[in-house]
């Protein structure tokens, strides 16, 4: 329904003013975000956003001025919503890649000038319909030319879909979309009456034959070029226009089946189609290669959540090609579900208004032209947004008005100009529409598509977000570590073992293990190699995801997109004793554990040879190749044959110790829980230490403890509640018998030692000791395992460690 002139002007002015204020706010937020990120205002950013805004605003003003003269009775919604989309895209580009944004700004000026020219051209569009074959064949020739002279501005070896000279590139398939629409609209407008009068399918086919041939030619040219996304879009555009010309619903069904059939053929013929379909059906199967883009895009959408991280505060750069194919993911990350739904609303408004124009128009050519343009705006938006959201297989088409791409912007602007002109020429009283069904059906299909995309967006931004964000290939977690201080790991005397330090040059935090021999226990948190050890098992605390009130975490995330500073952790280790143990163990292959038998606290834990977490990036290869396996933590990952030492240590069998129920607090996965199996023949040093501690503790087996306390905000150090799970595993008579046999002459401590020889692996020397009844201080237990069968060395190391431990703990 056409609105009267004054009301229309009033509406458009309100929308334009809103769009201008939104863009001003966008420019402001771009500058503020650089302050939030780096603490200072970036003058470069200020210039970029300022120039971007000014160019955009003057283009809007120019087009508005011309339109006001030549098409005063235009539709009031088209111009503001299209310019809002263009501005939003431009601001996002300035934020993503200033190089692309500069070019896009120039293209915006060119496109606006062309739009003004279109608005000044004759309103009856006769120049389009009269030369329909000329237009189409021109387009086909250009597309054909790319087969011979094609280039790719991004580099050699990529699909050559552009024609270029002197730094300016044109993708002929973009104008081809418009030319195909113009040709089909003009041809079908003339032939529709003949089609309706024709009798029999043969005559009907004859009427449509030339346009069918031309459409097929265009589609197949693009298939040859391997631009399959555009080819499917051409097929879609043709199917829609044929549906409107014939008014036969089965054309839509046939078109749908044709696309499925084409997809089937594509899977067989082209690897790239098969990869895309596989990546669509199961992206998580190959997330680092073929479905890297789509998985990263979903993670970006998930990171946006409901409110978005704010323009300039997200990490859309993690998704490949964020400025073109994945600009929707970039917008969804930084503007959130709230913003991306508004974007969908703008696109839907634009497409549905153009369908409305088609219904009001009196002229068949104009009707079909508008339908083609609506199909382009709506169809291409749904195709690429659906691809970003894993609703459809990914195709490399642009998001109209928003994505980077000069040819695409230019063509969208020409279409907008045509729509504005048509909207000016339609009569206030709509003409008679013989059959409104196709318009309502097609409008309904587009609307359904937008609703489906919105639902998918909500699904990934809200429901699936926790799972997606917790993925190890979400690089944002490692970026936060550089921006926010990770929690310090201390020994029991608050001597730091691992810290995050702010670098002087670039201000980012770098993690450093201050006492490298503990690397096999502390592990690492690395963007490439992932996490291990305590860095992994305590990650939630160290990265600030736990330990705060949920409101604090959410508020921090809302403000800066990052978690709050990490929580510091205090271990039960004693650094001095640890140093003594490591010195005694140096040069050996094996493990040593010292446990406080009274409360299960681990006082020292060594694994030799050890790697160095700080040198992982340079030394990883040699660590991996090293036959001594320095990455292994022998204390809890190494399983050693216990041989004849087993029966005295656990006379009723290892099963009686019920190690399966022992969950050592804060220890990495698989350390002491059900995942590390223990048999009567093979146990880990830590399991042996658990048994030895039970003997020195009067027969009561305690859970081992490695984490002593967390430093919570406001409350300070909060000790960890000792896990319940103590169990009497030796009777007093067992203990008495054991100590009678193994206590030293002093009566202060007992020990077991021996070497287990095994045909398959190298011999293992054990030295297991603990305090006896005569000892009046804190009861202790120690376990030493050395590979290589040097029992004397084990004995020597064991005695050093035992004496050091007894004198340290007392």
């Amino acid at each position: 329904m056409k609105i009267e002139h004054a009301a229309s002007f009033h509406r458009e002015r309100a929308l334009v003013l809103l769009a201008v204020s939104i863009m001003l706010l966008f420019a402001l937020s771009l500058n503020l975000s650089s302050v939030v990120r780096s603490g200072t205002l970036s003058t470069e950013r200020a210039w970029q956003s300022g120039i971007g805004f000014l160019v955009w605003a003057s283009c809007l003003g120019g087009v508005w001025f011309v339109a006001q003269k030549t098409a005063p009775e235009r539709d009031p919604y088209l111009l503001p919503s299209a310019f809002l989309l263009m501005g939003w895209g431009l601001m996002t580009l300035w934020r993503l890649s200033p190089y692309h944004a500069q070019r896009q700004t120039i293209w915006l000026v060119i496109s606006s000038l062309v739009m003004m020219a279109i608005l000044k051209a004759p309103a009856d569009l006769s120049y389009l319909r009269r030369f329909k074959y000329l237009w189409l064949s021109g387009g086909l020739v250009l597309v054909f030319a790319t087969l011979i002279f094609g280039a790719n501005p991004a580099g050699e070896g990529l699909p050559r879909l552009w024609l270029g000279c002197c730094g300016i590139y044109l993708q002929p398939s973009e104008p081809m979309k418009l030319l195909l629409i113009v040709y089909l609209a003009a041809y079908l407008a003339v032939s529709q009456p003949f089609f309706q009068r024709a009798v029999g399918s043969k005559q009907r086919l004859a009427v449509l034959a030339p346009s069918l041939v031309m459409s097929l030619l265009a589609v197949s040219l693009l298939v040859v070029q391997r631009d399959l996304g555009t080819a499917s879009l051409f097929f879609f555009l043709s199917a829609v226009l044929f549906y409107f010309a014939t008014e036969q619903r089965w054309i839509l069904l046939l078109g749908g089946m044709g696309i499925l059939f084409g997809l089937g053929i594509g899977i067989v013929l082209f690897d790239v189609v098969r990869w895309r379909v596989e990546a669509w059906l199961n992206p998580y199967a190959d997330p680092i290669h073929r479905s890297y883009q789509i998985v990263q895009s979903l993670i970006a959408v998930a990171n946006g959540g409901l409110f978005g991280r704010g323009l300039g505060l997200g990490y859309p750069g993690q998704v490949p090609v964020p400025h073109s194919d994945f600009i929707f993911a970039a917008i969804a990350e930084e503007s959130g579900l709230i913003g991306s739904l508004a974007l969908l609303g703008c696109l839907a408004l634009l497409s549905l208004r153009v369908i409305g124009l088609a219904m009001q128009s009196e002229d068949r050519f104009q009707r079909f032209l508008m339908i083609g343009i609506a199909a382009y705006f709506g169809g291409q938006s749904l195709l690429i947004i659906g691809g970003n959201l894993r609703l459809l297989p990914l195709t490399g088409v642009t998001l109209p008005f928003v994505s980077y791409g000069g040819s695409s912007l230019l063509v969208s602007c020409i279409m907008l100009g045509l729509a504005l002109q048509v909207s000016h020429s339609v009569q206030p009283k709509p003409g008679i529409l013989p059959n409104p069904t196709p318009y309502l059906t097609f409008g309904g299909i587009l609307l359904l598509g937008f609703v489906a995309v919105a639902l998918a967006n909500g699904w990934f931004a809200l429901y699936r977000a926790p799972v997606l964000l917790a993925r190890t290939d979400n690089a944002r977690r490692y970026i936060y570590e550089q921006l926010v201080q990770r929690g310090t790991i201390y020994d029991r005397e608050l001597r730091p073992l691992a810290i995050s330090e702010r670098q002087k040059d670039d201000g980012v935090f770098v993690r450093r293990v201050l006492y490298p021999p503990l690397s096999p226990l502390i592990g690492y948190s690395h963007p490439v190699y992932g996490q291990s050890g305590l860095e992994r098992s305590l990650d939630e605390w160290l990265s600030g995801e736990r330990g705060y009130r949920i409101s604090v975490i959410l508020w921090q995330r809302l403000l800066t997109g990052t978690p709050p500073p990490g929580i510091a952790v205090r271990l039960t280790l004693n650094l001095e004793l640890q140093q003594t143990v490591d010195r005694a163990m140096s040069g050996q292959r094996g493990a040593a554990v010292v446990v406080n038998a009274q409360n299960g606290e681990i006082l020292a834990i060594a694994s030799q040879p050890a790697f160095d977490s700080n040198r992982l990036a340079t030394e990883l290869d040699s660590y991996l190749k090293d036959a001594n396996a320095p990455l292994l933590n022998r204390a809890f990952q190494g399983r050693y044959a216990i041989g004849a030492l087993g029966p005295p240590l656990f006379p009723k069998g290892i099963a009686a110790l019920q190690l399966r129920d022992v969950r050592a607090l804060g220890l990495p996965d698989g350390l002491m829980d059900g995942r590390q199996p223990a048999s009567d023949e093979e146990i880990t040093p830590l399991q042996a230490a658990c048994a030895a501690a039970a003997i020195s503790n009067g027969g009561i087996r305690l859970p081992l403890q490695l984490v002593d306390a967390f430093h919570l905000p406001n409350t300070g150090w909060v000790p960890i509640q000792a896990e319940t799970g103590s169990l009497t595993v030796y009777s007093p008579s067992d203990i008495e018998l054991f100590l009678k046999q193994h206590t030293d002459l002093t009566g202060l401590h007992w020990h077991l030692s021996g070497t287990v020889y095994n045909e398959e692996v190298q011999p293992t020397s054990w030295y297991i000791a603990g305090t006896a009844f005569g000892w009046e201080g804190t009861p202790l237990a120690i376990v030493i395992v050395l590979e290589g069968g040097n029992e004397a060395a084990a004995h020597q190391v064991g005695e050093i460690i035992l004496n050091a431990s007894l004198s340290t703990v007392k």
Partner: protein, 139 residues
């Protein structure tokens, strides 16, 4: 501080975006409503009729006018020869039609007993039981 400022700007952007969409869709809805009202007013002409012995004609602008003794009828005729739901006049396909609803004493259009719905024109005389009335104007 700057983060809070940025949050405010972000909220303003969201408000702006939804104001934009809200304004667009609200004005479109207003159009639709006005269009619907205009269509319904345009389509439904007025019908005026004069019951015998009444000084002024009655005017109706609705899709269906029920006639009968029942007080809820649009044209209530308090006469014992009129059935409680006697007949109806309705608008269909651009014309007003008169239909008898199985009344006891029958409905007569221009002295002819009505057996099926019949289109009306200005000046038609209708008799329900013993009550006469006349279609004055159809606009």
């Amino acid at each position: 501080m700057s983060a809070i400022l940025l949050l405010i700007v972000r909220i303003l952007i969201a408000v702006g975006l939804y104001a934009f969409l809200g304004w667009a869709f609200w004005t479109l809805y207003q159009d639709l409503k006005r269009q619907g009202r205009a269509l319904s007013l345009e389509a439904l002409p007025k019908l005026s009729l004069r019951v015998q012995n009444e000084p002024l004609p009655r005017t109706y602008q609705q899709l269906e006018i029920s006639i009968g003794r029942d007080a809820h009828c649009d044209l209530c005729l308090a006469d014992s020869t009129v059935s409680s739901h006697h007949a109806r006049i309705f608008y269909r396909q651009g014309q007003w039609w008169l239909e008898d609803l199985n009344s006891t004493n029958g409905t007569y259009l221009n002295q002819t007993l009505l057996t099926e719905p019949t289109a009306l024109t200005s000046g038609d005389e209708i008799r329900c039981g013993q009550v006469h009335f006349k279609i004055e104007t159809i606009s």
